[in-house]
């Protein structure tokens, strides 16, 4: 089962990564491929791009780093989500992680207790009984550690999306604020909208 799943994953990834396409230079260099039929279309697009380029600095000042948020969430699950303002997710990740680690710690403690009993036991029945208990508790510990790891992994994965969503919203806000602002500083002077 493990092998089959792993091979399936590799095949899916490999197939998509190695997908080839015939290169068509005419299509690639078609000046109208972005919908610019003439010089006016190109100029309109260029002006729009220049306008947006001006907003990039504003965006950079407030955008959040994905790496930093990944680091935060890796350190304390949910921290990155808190940074992006996604408090519900932050609470869930942090809470779930604490509960799972707490449970695994509880089982680990029980496993160690039973293991000590097993070491201290002198009778065959007690030795077998405590050994089984210690092993069972240890397996539960592993399961909960695994689940905690899974939650931690998903938390790290999620913070990337949260940060990107935050940054996308930020750009939208910057863009809207700029275009809806009644007073604008343009290359030709100050523009006031009524």
């Amino acid at each position: 089962m493990f092998k089959a799943s792993f091979i399936l994953l590799l095949l899916t990834t490999g197939a998509t990564l190695t997908a080839q396409q015939t290169f068509d230079i005419n299509r690639f260099s078609d000046p109208a491929k972005y919908g610019w039929q003439d010089w006016f279309d190109r100029i309109n697009y260029r002006n729009d791009l220049i306008e947006r380029q001006k907003l990039l600095q504003l965006y950079e000042n407030n955008a959040q780093s994905v790496n930093l948020n990944v680091g935060k969430s890796a350190l304390i699950p949910g921290w990155g989500q808190y940074s992006t303002g996604d408090y519900t997710k932050g609470h869930i990740f942090l809470g779930t992680e604490l509960v799972l680690i707490g449970i695994s710690a509880y089982y680990y403690d029980r496993a160690m207790y039973n293991y000590q009993k097993y070491l201290d036991a002198t009778q065959v029945l007690e030795i077998e009984n405590f050994y089984k208990k210690a092993q069972g508790d240890y397996q539960f510990t592993l399961i909960f550690v695994g689940l905690a790891s899974l939650v931690w992994l998903f938390n790290v994965y999620d913070v990337v999306h949260s940060t990107e969503a935050f940054n996308a919203d930020l750009w939208q806000r910057v863009h809207n604020d700029y275009y809806k602002a009644p007073l604008k500083l343009t290359p030709t002077g100050i523009e006031i909208r009524f």
């Binding site: 089962m1 493990f2 799943s5 792993f6 994953l9 899916t12 990834t13 197939a15 998509t16 990564l17 190695t18 997908a19 080839q20 396409q21 290169f23 230079i25 690639f28 260099s29 078609d30 000046p31 491929k33 972005y34 610019w36 010089w39 190109r42 697009y45 260029r46 791009l49 947006r52 380029q53 907003l55 990039l56 965006y59 950079e60 955008a63 994905v66 990944v70 592993l142 399961i143 695994g146 790891s149 899974l150 992994l153 998903f154 790290v156 994965y157 999620d158 990337v160 999306h161 990107e164 969503a165 940054n167 996308a168 930020l170 750009w171 939208q172 910057v174 863009h175």
Partner: protein
């Protein structure tokens, strides 16, 4: 050139990015691993899973791949990555950055194409780059192709590329040279002077004083002289607007004698002003005169004199209305003079004079009202004085008549019979007496003097106030003449009271 782009190795795959898919896949792996006891023995599995997660979770990765390819100068692959990201990316800022880098990538490809002298591909990539710097490259390519075509004698192809520079990159550094080249072609080969003039105008408007503009200027001098002559012809035939359009255009550019052009413009405006004067449209004339002065200030003195004349015409017209006591229209015309010459002294004097007349009339009316009251009270001497004062202020027929009436009444009061006799005697310079004497003279021919009885004038009181009857009877043995008139002392009127008296008066 296709080799430039052969570095495109793959398109972005459709790796499932949704957390549910990933989570499920990882859960299966993890569950299998835990069940088989693989997990504790293989800690690197966790690292692998984390790496896969991060590699696929981040939307930015595609953008970063594009950036990386751009840095590695794999521009075609970078463009593919950027295109894909721009199409699907959610972050507008990253999309904008991707668009900027895509533009830079196309520019690099255009540069490569130029190095390989693959001009058409360079043009296509230059257009796709769609930036200021790419425009510079495009302009260079167009100019090079235009130069090559012209050198090879391919005139229309050369023109095509020159037009492309002017249409697509109008602010290119090659624009003056290309305009100069087009002017040269239009004048020397095509013989299209209008096209040359249009290009020169563009050259001067965009680059005044540029070396190419200075070089082209002398070529257009003879053309401008012809245009000025044509404008003169138009003006002479009444097409003033067309003539002015040409002259104003000529005045803007340094190829024509500006002084001459401005003088011509001024002359045309003056001609239009004179036409307006002939049509009695003085305000329009004034407007044209002002335009004439602004076009050629040296004409100020002549035009000012003419303006004074026009303003004088308004005052004369106002005076005509004043003579008719139409103060409203008189004032309107006096003020029109101010429209032409502000604070025109003659108009001020005329208005002052009009106001005096108005005041006098008002005062005369007041005096007449007072005089009328005195007249009713039979205070004729005082009434007469006031009426005479009123006449001094406003020589109105009504007042003159009143004065005459009062004088009559005063005479009538003093001695009505004598006054009535005098009226009869004075009537049409003694007409009645003369004709009665004629009648008597005729009768003396037929009758002896003792046969004719003459009653002489008899003045008697008649019915009605200040009315008397004048009677004159001539009797002969066979004929009788009874003349009878009624005399109104108030107005000195004489009314015949029988046919014979009426006949005598005719």
């Amino acid at each position: 050139m296709p080799t430039i782009c052969k570095t495109i190795a793959f398109r972005r795959g459709a790796f499932p990015q949704h957390p549910i898919f990933l989570t499920l896949a990882l859960l299966i792996l993890l569950a299998t691993a835990v069940r088989r006891g693989a997990f504790p023995q293989r800690p690197s599995f966790l690292t692998l899973a984390l790496l896969i997660l991060l590699a696929t979770a981040c939307e930015m990765n595609q953008y970063r791949r594009g950036e990386e390819m751009y840095r590695q100068r794999s521009f075609a692959a970078a463009i593919e990555e950027f295109d894909a990201y721009i199409e699907t990316g959610n972050n507008g800022a990253l999309r904008t950055r991707a668009e900027l880098l895509r533009s830079a990538s196309y520019r690099e490809l255009a540069l490569m194409a130029i190095q390989r002298q693959s001009w058409q591909l360079a043009i296509r990539f230059g257009k796709l780059a769609n930036s200021e710097s790419a425009d510079t490259l495009l302009a260079n390519v167009y100019k090079l192709l235009a130069d090559n075509s012209l050198e090879a004698g391919k005139l229309s192809e050369g023109q095509f590329y020159m037009n492309l520079v002017l249409e697509e990159i109008p602010r290119s550094r090659h624009t003056p040279a290309i305009l100069f080249r087009r002017i040269n072609l239009a004048m020397t080969i095509l013989g299209d002077w209008n096209a040359a003039w249009l290009d020169y105008k563009k050259l001067y408007d965009l680059y005044p004083g540029n070396e190419y503009e200075v070089q082209a200027k002398p070529w257009l001098v003879s053309y401008s002289n012809n245009r000025i002559e044509y404008a003169k012809t138009l003006a002479e035939t009444g097409f003033f607007r067309d003539a002015l359009t040409i002259l104003f255009e000529m005045a803007r550019y340094p190829v024509a004698d500006k002084d001459k052009v401005h003088r011509l413009i001024s002359d045309i405006y003056q001609t239009q002003a004179e036409i307006a004067i002939a049509e009695e449209n003085y305000l329009e004339a004034d407007r044209y005169f002002r335009l004439a002065v602004s076009a050629y200030p040296e004409n100020t003195l002549i035009i000012d004199t003419r303006l004074s004349q026009i303003a004088g015409l308004f005052i004369a017209k106002g005076n005509e209305y004043l003579a008719l006591y139409d103060f409203t229209n008189a004032r309107i015309h006096y003020h029109k003079a101010f429209d032409i010459i502000p604070d025109f002294p003659a108009a001020k004097d005329a208005i002052s004079r009009m106001e005096t007349v108005q005041a006098n009339i008002q005062q005369a009316e007041n005096l007449a009202v007072q005089a009328n009251k005195l007249d009713v009270q039979k205070k004729y001497a005082e009434a007469l004085l006031l009426y005479r004062e009123a006449i001094q202020l406003h020589n109105k027929a009504e007042y003159r008549q009143k004065v005459a009436e009062i004088q009559n009444l005063m005479e009538a009061e003093r001695n009505p019979t004598a006054f009535a006799q005098r009226i009869v005697n004075d009537y049409r310079n003694g007409l009645l007496n003369t004709r009665i004497n004629n009648v008597k003279r005729n009768l003396l021919v037929m009758y002896k003097p003792n046969e004719i009885r003459d009653s002489g004038w008899k003045i008697m009181l008649s019915t009605g106030q200040y009315k008397y009857e004048a009677r004159y009877d001539i009797l002969t043995p066979r004929e009788t003449y009874f003349y009878l008139w009624q005399i109104n002392l108030r107005d000195r009127s004489i009314v015949p009271l029988n046919k014979i008296s009426e006949a005598l008066m005719q």
